[in-house]
């Protein structure tokens, strides 16, 4: 149990996917204009990560032991098609949830955080439960980063910033400060990489 908590906290705070590993930067800079959108994207991310973790574990345990050199291709193809399938399923079963996640589901598939999750899980030899906890933690961390960033940007929108720095440069500097703050979690639970 203690180990699971360690994995969760480690993935969410100490080694936050976005702010410490630079994964999933496209949505981090692309869709953090509004808080609500950022939060929904985060939820969709958690969801896709859990599915990915399960799919990657199944693949690794039953198929890829026989052909490890196909790992990358198998992961990306299986993840993309699984997410597409789940998307159709949700659309049929729960239109409300589908509307909430919306366009983000298919986009997330090509997010580097998802593939990285599968690769990290494999290289650290996590089991099924550990993998799912890791995925949930990483997803929560991503959501946290997205929501924080969106909040900061909504605030910056209203403040008096020199026109020169507006846009990508300011977002990067803000992200740098956020990342600096997250470094404060280093060493928590002894969960360094």
């Amino acid at each position: 149990m203690g180990q699971l908590v360690g994995i969760f906290i480690g993935a969410m705070l100490v080694n936050n996917f976005t702010l410490a590993y630079f994964l999933g930067l496209c949505p981090f800079f692309g869709v953090t204009g509004r808080l609500v959108t950022a939060f929904r994207l985060g939820l969709a991310n958690i969801f896709v990560m859990l599915i990915t973790s399960l799919a990657a574990w199944l693949l690794e345990t039953f198929v890829l032991v026989h052909a490890p050199y196909l790992r990358l291709i198998a992961f990306i193809v299986v993840i993309a098609s699984t997410v597409q399938f789940v998307e159709m399923f949700i659309k049929k079963v729960s239109p409300a949830l589908f509307r909430a996640l919306g366009i983000f589901l298919p986009l997330i598939t090509t997010n580097c955080a998802i593939l990285a999750l599968a690769l990290f899980q494999t290289s650290r030899a996590y089991g099924l439960v550990q993998g799912l906890v890791f995925a949930f933690g990483a997803g929560c961390g991503l959501t946290l980063a997205l929501v924080l960033m969106a909040g900061l940007r909504e605030e910056a929108e209203l403040s008096d910033v020199p026109s020169l720095i507006r846009g990508t440069a300011m977002n990067l500097l803000v992200a740098g400060l956020l990342s600096l703050a997250f470094m404060g979690f280093a060493g928590l639970f002894g969960a360094s990489s």
């Binding site: 990358l72 990306i76 193809v77 993309a80 990285a116 740098g176 470094m183």
Partner: protein, 222 residues
């Protein structure tokens, strides 16, 4: 986050091949102008050598994928083109991954999962979708090499600056004496964000200055 490149028209028309080759290096630089492929650009550029290795691996994958996609562009059905691109890219990334592991194990260990993650670099998929799948082979390869070179240039300069400030060395050779106090934060994750932010800021400043100077020239001429 949009593709730039419609600057003031150049006076004479250079050959198209040359134009496609050169545009990625500076005018449409993937990192500094288009802001694509950020994840690897920030994650592995804590030293200049890592920047070069990552840039070269990306260049290789981009050039090979563009070559193959451009050759197959009339055979790939429109509905499944994205999946086809991804599979082609993943194949070449696997090649690059194993090659690097055999040739430079130390660098491979340092870059870790980020070599595999070239698959989901939006720059590569973007070039296939926007260029290679619509243009003949020689132009597609020229475009890929230009973009890859621009990417490598950006990663190397970012890595060099971070290494100089954070470690006081360049490509592993110490530059300053013993009295140098390294600015450690620069080689840690926050340094990546801060350094790229400052570089973009500097470029924006130069651009504004140049535009003002041009404006003044126009006014004087009028």
């Amino acid at each position: 986050m949009s593709a730039a490149g419609t600057g003031p028209g150049s006076g004479r028309e250079p050959s198209q091949l040359y134009a496609e080759l050169i545009k990625g290096v500076w005018k449409e630089n993937p990192i500094f102008v288009q802001v694509l492929g950020m994840c690897p650009a920030l994650a592995v550029t804590n030293t200049a050598l890592n920047g070069v290795a990552m840039g070269t691996a990306t260049l290789f994958v981009l050039a090979c994928s563009s070559l193959l996609i451009s050759l197959l562009r009339n055979l790939i059905p429109k509905q499944v083109r994205i999946s086809t691109f991804i599979i082609v890219i993943a194949t070449f990334v696997t090649v690059a991954d194993f090659t690097l592991q055999a040739v430079a194990p130390a660098v491979h260990r340092e870059l870790g999962a980020f070599i595999s993650l070239i698959v989901v670099n939006c720059l590569i998929l973007g070039r296939q979708e926007a260029f290679a799948s619509k243009h003949p082979v020689h132009l597609a390869v020229a475009d890929a090499i230009g973009m890859g070179a621009g990417f490598t240039l950006a990663l190397t300069s970012l890595g060099s600056l971070r290494e100089i400030l954070g470690k006081g060395s360049l490509f592993g050779f110490p530059l300053f004496g013993d009295s140098f106090q390294p600015w450690v934060i620069m080689i840690l994750p926050p340094g990546g964000f801060l350094m790229l932010g400052m570089m973009l800021l500097a470029f924006a400043w130069f651009k504004e200055k140049r535009q003002k100077a041009l404006l003044r020239l126009d006014e004087e001429a009028a």
